[in-house]
Amino acid sequence: MGALAAEPVLTVRDLVVHYHTPRGPIKAVEHVSFDVYKGERFGLVGESGCGKSTTAMALLRLIKPPGRIETGEVRLEGRDLLTLKPDELRTLRWRDLSLIPQGAMNSLNPVMRIREQIEDVIICHEGRPSPAELAERVHKLLNMVGLPRRVTTMYPHELSGGMKQRVCIAMAIALNPKLVIADELTSALDVVVQRVVIQTLMEVQERLGTSLIVIGHDMGLQAQLVDRLAVMYAGRIAEIADAITIFEQPLHPYTRLLIASVPSTKEKKPLQAIPGLPPTLLNPPPGCAFHPRCPAAFERCAVEVPRLQEVAPKHQVACHLFSERIS
């Protein structure tokens, strides 16, 4: 089981990110709060456009205009990232908080050798070590993710998708950060390669004891990979609990339907879709954004936004079905 230490590495409180378009603000992330503990693998799952990737980028303060972090607090071991000065932020990035980007295909500089791109982070954060030492470190990192030495002198286009993804993993752990964010790690990979990449990541993470945030849309992958899981819907967190609880006793109707909609290879059962359409974040429905599609919705759901509340130990849900039970 996951969280060994009760000490959070990262606390996110009330994070709000909007994209300001000519047609009005797109409310990509609305009052998102969660913690990530030391050594833990934390999943952030949801369907396209639910705000999970925006959340990841906001943690790194990499939201570009017209997007803007409106309010919130992102504390990495106590330091609020959102109020850091640019220089402090720059030194903290990657040393404490690194990223395995979405679409590793385009995340490596096409005109730099793999070696140079990994060296860059070491040189910029720790100063230039001797060439031999540098080469040794790069080699060690690649070795850790199961890549042969000759990859160092290659260019990104010479590598397959799975290899590029592993280069990104090697780069992310180069400075032994406290937290690594993996954004849609394997969305373009074949299923076998996907498994290999994920195994590599888990192995490295366990070895280094880094905390890990895994952003994704695939419930199957999340089940394989994470200790604890937050389900996002329309820019808000619907439910947070440890993975086994989420899969065995989901509370939020959306979580339940989402799990049910994943086809299984273990038993044949009628397919279940979630009726209706995902909401637009430009103009989300009032109240709980899920209420138009929710089989259990009642009047209150259409008026009042449910707050994320702890309904059982370490199990938080944002649903009026359960907020009533408490109050």
Partner: protein
């Protein structure tokens, strides 16, 4: 859409203003005033010289310039229309039919792209002494197809691979029907932008030829105005109004066309538009 883009709006306004003023100017000019010696020569702008002064041959610069603007635009229009049409035809054939036709046409496109067309123009124009304005326009147009052809070819190649073309085949559409009903509508606005490009290039080519002495000898275009002015030593004689009028008219013309070009680019390029 058009009115939302500042560049497009400003560009179109300048161009329209120039065209309207020129048309009114030409319509208001009595024919006898166009002749050489209608005015005293070398008068600076002012009361006697009229709005823009007179040249060394006793013609009004203002009367010449309105006519020259229209003639230059006319050359550009004919040449750009011809060039874009030929280019679209060649590019479309290359892209749509592919295989051998494409291979052959591609060589021609590449060759004519590589060689500055001004050279061929010089060659032809210098053999046909004293070409008339429509001839200049046609010659320019005949050598202005390579760039639109390459772009149309690329566009067709990428459109052809789009799934909606496959779907049309499944829906029982024939090749020609796919060209006209599925591909063409997507090319129109895009050809429009290309036309503006060719327009700019054609006016530029005409002015260049004129300055080399190969312009339409019996017509007055902006390029020919500068040619005559330089030939009569307008700079050395300090007849600045004579050569500056066409120079600034050209600058204004090019600027407006570039703005239109850039504006169209922005309007059509979805990457520049914020996605919602």
């Amino acid at each position: 859409m058009i009115t939302h883009n500042k560049k497009l709006l400003i560009g179109l306004s300048i161009l329209l203003l120039m065209v309207i003023v020129s048309i009114i100017g030409v319509l208001l000019t009595p024919p006898e005033l166009r002749r050489t010696g209608s005015f005293l020569p070398r008068l600076p702008p002012g009361e006697e010289g009229g709005l823009l002064g007179t040249d060394a041959l006793g013609r009004s610069v203002a009367i010449q310039i309105v006519e020259a603007i229209l003639k230059s635009l006319l050359v550009g229009l004919i040449a750009a229309a011809l060039g874009t049409f030929l280019g679209a035809l060649i590019g479309f054939s290359a892209g749509y039919f592919g295989k051998l036709i494409d291979a052959v046409l591609r060589v021609f496109i590449d060759v004519f792209l590589a060689v500055p067309s001004l050279l061929f123009l010089i060659l032809i124009a210098s053999l046909m002494r004293g070409v008339a304005l429509p001839a200049v326009a046609l010659i320019i147009g005949a050598f202005a197809w390579a760039s639109p052809a390459r772009q149309v070819r690329g566009q067709v190649l990428s459109l052809k691979e789009r799934a909606f073309v496959q779907l049309s085949r499944l829906s029982g559409m024939s090749g020609l029907e796919i060209i006209f009903r599925e591909l063409m509508p997507n090319m129109f606005q895009w050809l429009g932008a290309n036309f503006v490009n060719a327009f700019i290039a054609a006016i530029l080519a005409e002015a260049g030829l004129s300055l080399l002495g190969l312009g339409p000898q019996n017509d007055i275009t902006l390029g020919m105005m500068i040619y005559w002015a330089l030939g009569y030593g307008a700079i050395l004689q300090n007849l600045w109004w004579w050569w500056m009028a066409p120079v600034f008219a050209l600058i204004a013309l090019f600027l407006s066309l570039y703005l239109i070009h850039l504006g169209l680019d922005e309007v059509m390029n979805p990457r520049l538009v914020v996605r919602a």
